[in-house]
Every structure is written in C-alpha cells, then in structure tokens.
C-alpha cells in the first residue's frame, strides 16, 4: 500500500487547486449564496462569515487528518472504530461520494440541457461525461492531479476575463447599504448554511496519505477555503451588480446568465467561453468523486479501486437517468437539495465527530497506532 502511495504521490499545489476548483464550481454553477438567507447585498458578508464556521465544522475531520496523516479517513476509522464499524463507515462514505458524483452529474446534464443541448437525450450527454470521467479516474490520482494543474488555471483565467469583460454592466450601488436589510441572525444562518456545504474538505481527508508533505494539511485547508471563498465573493458581487439583488434570486444559473449579458460592440456569445471552462471544471469534479467512491468501495471490498470505476459510472448513469428525466435538480429545491445537505452534514461533521470522540475515549489503547501501523 505504501509503495502504491509513493507511486500516487500528489503535491501541495495540485491538491490546493483541486479543492479550490471543486468548491468554486458550486459558485459558478448555481451560486447558492444568492438564494440563501438573507439573499441580499450582504451576501458577500455571509460568505466571509462562513469561513470561521467552515473551520469549526471541519475541525473533527482536520483533527483526524492531522493526527493520522499516514492514512486516509477510511483507514483511520477502521483503526479507531474496529473492523466492523470501520467497514460500515467505509460503506457510508462510498454512498456519500457516490451521491455527490451522481448529484454533480445531474447538475452537469441540467445546465448542459439548458444552455446547449436542449434536445439531446440525457443518456447521450451523461454517457459522454461518464466515459470521460471514468477514463480520467482509471489513469490514477497522479494523472488526475496533473490534469488539475493544467485545467484549473484555464478556468480561473476564463472566470476573471468574463468578470472584466462585463465591467460595463456593473452597478455597484445595488450592493449598498450593507448590513441594513439583514439581521445578525440571518447573516449567521446564511454563513452556517454555506459552511455546511463545504463537502470538498473530504478530499483532503481522503488524500492526505498521498501528499508529498503530509504536514501541509492545515495549510491546504485554510488556503483552499480562503481562495475559493474570495472567488465566490467576486462571482457573487459581479452577478448581483449586474442583475440587482431580486432578479438574481430568480435565476437558476446566475454566472451563466451573467456571461450571456456580456457584449463588446456587436460581439456576443461569451457564454461559450463560460460553458467550455465550466465543462472542464465539472469533469474534474465528477472524476474526483468517482475516484473517491472507488477508493471507498475498494476499502469495503478489499480490492483494487480501479475495478470499481466502470460499475460506479454505470450506476451513476442509471441514477442520473432516473433523476433527470423526472425533475430538475437545481431549479427545484425539494428533496434533492435537502438530501445533499443531510449527507453533507453527516459526512463532514457527524461521522468524523463520532470517530474523534471514540478516539479520545480509546486514546490509551490506540496510543501507538501510528507507530504500530507503520510497522
């Protein structure tokens, strides 16, 4: 296993970019902060306030990742909780990652249907997506990390270019007056809601043993959190400054509609730039979650994770077909958004907290866990 990890080594900046893009894609897709309480000119404050909440929510996971940085979350839970419960937790995280992958695949198809391929059957668009993702996952973590290194700067560049090109559409007065239309409670409720959506922290917990310098966990977490929040703040500000506060609440894909409004002279169609970079970002995101689902399933079944890639892709295909051809995923809140929130809270806070508490109780017995496992 250690030899494989040496082979699958990933670097600090690669993981940083990966987490930034995973988080940023949520903002670039449906910008939840524009609809979450208080959903007004104070949204950027909500995002800033979400930073401490996110840190608090992720503390158990961070604690475990720092304490047992030679092992991923599933291995740690097995050591602490025992084989039986460890396996149950591995099953839980397999389902969690699978749900994330299936959800983001559904979102991918939804925006693609709305923006480009209105009449393309879901099976075609999702098949192309999953074939691409399965191929990326099959190439392993190192290659995925290298791909991230190439793609993420392109997405960031497009994001900033669009924000600059839309300069003429901005009316920043809509962002004033701050803190006048929302209460402290509303802002905090919004910040907590945003903090609870930081499911991408799980990537760190799963990837920490593959890091070249394992002590970088906190640095990656904080930097990824701050960078991604600032990018989403920028997205939120430009979108609100373009459409006004109320109109944004009614838009399903705000950054896409924002890109549609950009025109230079008679030239329009800059949304094509957005869509192409967005597709790249989503492919990375879905590939990452398929990869972690396969790792979790590999742990459950005690087999090589690559063996699960294609079955997972097929299962996602079926799920997406079942979901997407019945209801919109982003446009209709219930029940998918609620399911996502429940899964997110359980996987980021509840389960890691239980593992941490058990560890604290069994600390003496597990005192030399790192040492013994290394042997």
């Amino acid at each position: 296993m250690h030899t494989k990890r040496k082979k699958d080594k990933v670097y600090y900046h690669q993981i940083l970019l990966l987490i930034v893009i995973l988080r940023m894609m949520v903002g670039l897709t449906y910008l939840p902060v524009s609809k979450i309480s208080p959903a007004n000119q104070d949204s950027w404050i909500v995002l800033l306030m979400s930073i401490p909440y996110t840190i608090i929510f992720c503390l158990p996971l961070l604690y475990l990742s720092n304490k047992f940085n030679e092992y991923n979350l599933l291995e740690v839970s097995e050591r602490i909780m025992g084989k039986f419960f460890g396996r149950i937790i591995a099953v839980f995280y397999s389902i969690t990652f699978f749900i994330f992958a299936a959800f983001f695949s559904s979102v991918f198809v939804e925006i693609l249907d709305s923006s480009l391929f209105r009449r393309t059957p879901t099976i075609v668009s999702v098949s192309i997506l999953l074939v691409t993702c399965a191929y990326i996952v099959n190439k392993g973590l190192t290659n995925m990390a290298r791909l991230v290194e190439i793609i993420v700067p392109i997405i960031l560049l497009v994001f900033f270019i669009l924000a600059i090109l839309a300069y003429d559409n901005y009316d920043f007065t809509v962002l004033l007056p701050i803190l006048s239309d929302s209460t402290f409670t509303e802002i905090n409720a919004g910040a907590i809601n945003i903090g609870l959506r930081y499911m991408d922290i799980l990537v760190i917990a799963m990837i920490v043993p593959n890091l070249d310098v394992k002590t970088n966990v906190n640095k990656i977490f904080i930097r990824a959190l701050i960078y991604s929040i600032f990018i989403i703040i920028l997205a939120s500000i430009v979108v609100q400054a373009t459409f006004g506060i109320e109109y944004v609440k009614r838009i399903n894909f705000p950054y896409f509609t924002f890109a549609r409004l950009i025109s230079i002279g008679e030239a329009q169609g800059f949304d094509a730039l957005y869509i192409s970079s967005w597709i790249l970002g989503h492919i990375i995101k879905i590939s990452a979650y398929i990869y972690f689902t396969s790792v979790a399933l590999g742990k459950v079944a005690n087999r090589r994770n690559q063996k699960f890639t294609i079955p997972i892709a097929i299962a996602i295909l079926i799920i997406v077909l079942l979901i997407k051809d019945r209801r919109p995923v982003v446009a209709v809140d219930e029940p998918i958004q609620q399911i996502m929130m429940t899964v997110s809270v359980s996987s980021i806070i509840v389960v890691p907290s239980i593992i941490s508490i058990v560890y604290l109780f069994r600390k003496k017995n597990l005192k030399n866990i790192n040492k013994s496992m290394r042997q």
Binding site: V124, V174, P177, S180, G244, R260
Partner: protein
Amino acid sequence: MRNKVILLIACSILMAFLAGCFDARELDDLGISLVIGVDLQDNRILVTAEVVDPSVSAQENEVGSDGSVKYVQGTGGNIFEALRDITLKFDRRIYLSHNKVIIFGEDFAKKDVVLYMDELFRDREQRETVYILIAKGSKAYEVMGINSGLEELPADYVHRLIKNIEFNPKTVDTNIAEYLKYYYNLGQHPVVGVVERRQRRDIDKSEQKTGTRETELSVLGSAIFKGDSLAGYLNGNDTKSYNFIIDNIQVSPITFPSPLSYEETGKKLVQNEERLSSISIIRNRTKNDVEIRGDRLILKTEVNIRGTLREVIGDIDVSKEENLKKMEEACSKTVEEGIKLAVEKVQKEYELDIFGFGLVFHRKYPEQWEKIKENWDQIFADADFQIDVKTHIIRTGLINKPLAR
C-alpha cells in the same frame, strides 16, 4: 499500436456524438427573427416577427426595399404559443437568438408585461441583451417593416436608432435584463424606449422614388412603467433630463440661448432667446443625493459637464475668459431648467420615481427606508428638488470669435 487503434476508434465514435446532431438546427430550417412585435388582439397575444429571407442576396436587395425580410404573425394565449402558431402558416420555426429588438404595442404595454415576458427569460434562445421599445400610440406591427435609413434591413435600422443614444440622449436604450432589474427595484421604476411612425418630407422628387419612402421611425422620448404596466410617456427633452439624472449621457449636444457679451450686460447673465449656441458633452458626471430637513425631503442632483463648443450663434467673443464663463453659465442654466421641468412633470403627472432617488434614500437612510418603502412614490412626489449644474467648456474648436462678429 493496439492502444492507438482503440483510441482512434473511440475518437471516431465520439465524433458522431460531438457533432451535436441531436440539436442540429440547420440554417434552412430556421426562420431567423431580428425584431418581434407583441400586441394584444381580442385578449390574445399577437406576435409579429421580422424574419430574414436568406434567398435574397445583398446584391439583389436594394437599400430600403426590405426584400430580404418577411413578416409573419401568430396568435396564442401566451408568447410561446403565438410563436409556435406561426409554424402553422410559415414554413420555418422562429429562431430568436439573433433578435435585436422587441416592440410592445401600446395596448399590450398597458397590460402585465412582465407576466408575459416569462418565455423570453425562461428559454435560452432569446438573449437578455435585446432592446425593448414601446410602439407609441399604435400596434407593434404598425411600426415594423419601415426602413428609412441606409441599413439593409428594417431591424438594423431600428437597432441603429436605439444605439444612436450615444449621440443624442433624447431616447432610452433599455434591454430586457435592465427592465427586469428596475422592475424588482423598489426605489426605481423602469423606463424604456419608444418608437413612432412618422410622416417624412419627401425630398427625392425623381419619378421612381416618389412616394416610396414617405414614412420614417422616430425613437424620440421614452415610456414610463409602473411595475409592469405602461404609465405614460416622456418627451425628448424630458428623456434627456432623465438621462442626465441617471448619469447615462455620452457624447450629447446641449443647445442653449446664447448669452450676450459682458460689454453689453455688465456682470449679469442675460440670454438671447432667439440665438442658440451648442456644446457637445465630452464627459458627464451626475451625483444624486437625498436629505431630510425637518419634515421635508430634499432630492438633490449635481451635474458636472465637460464639453466642447460646437456652435456659437450670437455676438460673443469666446476667446475671452469672462465670455466663456457666461457660455458655461448659460449652458448650466438651460440644463438646470430642463431637469427641473422633467422632475416636476414626473412628480406631478406620474408620481413615480424613475430616477432612482429611492435607491439613494435606501442607502443613506436604511432604517427609515424600511418604514417608508411601500409609500416611496408618494414621498418622492411630494419632495423638494434641488439641482446644481456646473459646466466646463474645455475646448472651443478651430475658431475663436463667431464668424458673424
């Protein structure tokens, strides 16, 4: 080698899908619409579309002959149904992605416009940058199909007229996204452009031209909306003043009565109402403010104009500093009076804040705003208005003294 073959096969299979066959919309299947008009007829929606006829080449199409477009109409309970109704009479589906202007007939504009605009925002085909115009005093289809400009197509002609706000702010260029933005703003009502059909003087007396182009379009003025219904109109000068207040002035002319020279009037500004001079604005900055003084609300506007002299008619030597100052004062006075008149008219006739003073009030007095926001229009209508205009003439052109001096 084996891998390369597999890759090649995979790419070939993917190419079939990536070509976008499912959503292929061939040019000869589409009726590309450039302008649509929306009217009410017997309580149903009547959509008129100006569709490009690609079979007529640019060489065949004489300027202004409109041979390269066709007009089609459909009716329905909503815009979508009306658009699809067209397919029962016209051989192509109306494709809205290239639509540049939507014209609402006056009757339709008096109804719930936003209610019926849903289709235009929900479907991705229509871009949010499309301009809105109101057909003043007529149906939308009555102002369509007129091309009295140099553009080949009537759509391009009307589109150009809207774009000409850059040179003359007596019109408004509101697109559907901006309309919706203002519609949701509690402190500012939407204002959109208008279009009117007018008789034009037939100057070309040649036999083949006589009577061919006796009408033209005019986008002079603007239409005020209360929420989503047309409330009334502003004339050209009031629209210009509106543009001054919302700081939407670019290269605009200001014409004002020429002042008499200081030699004749001493230090007092006396304007000669019969002789008009003009400046062209290079840059304009407007700042709006509100102030509560006792139980009165004061609306304040500060306009800073930088311009170049374009025409001096009158006996005034602009090479002298004091005379240039008088020109500046005269220009400021005219702009001030124009803006005052426009604000007064909107306050008295419409009682609707179209200038965005509500947003300024919201920013400055957020707590009071919460209490009064539902009655803001009434408060706006009763408020006092203060205006301060400063003009700086920074260029005088290629000559100094007027030619007639």
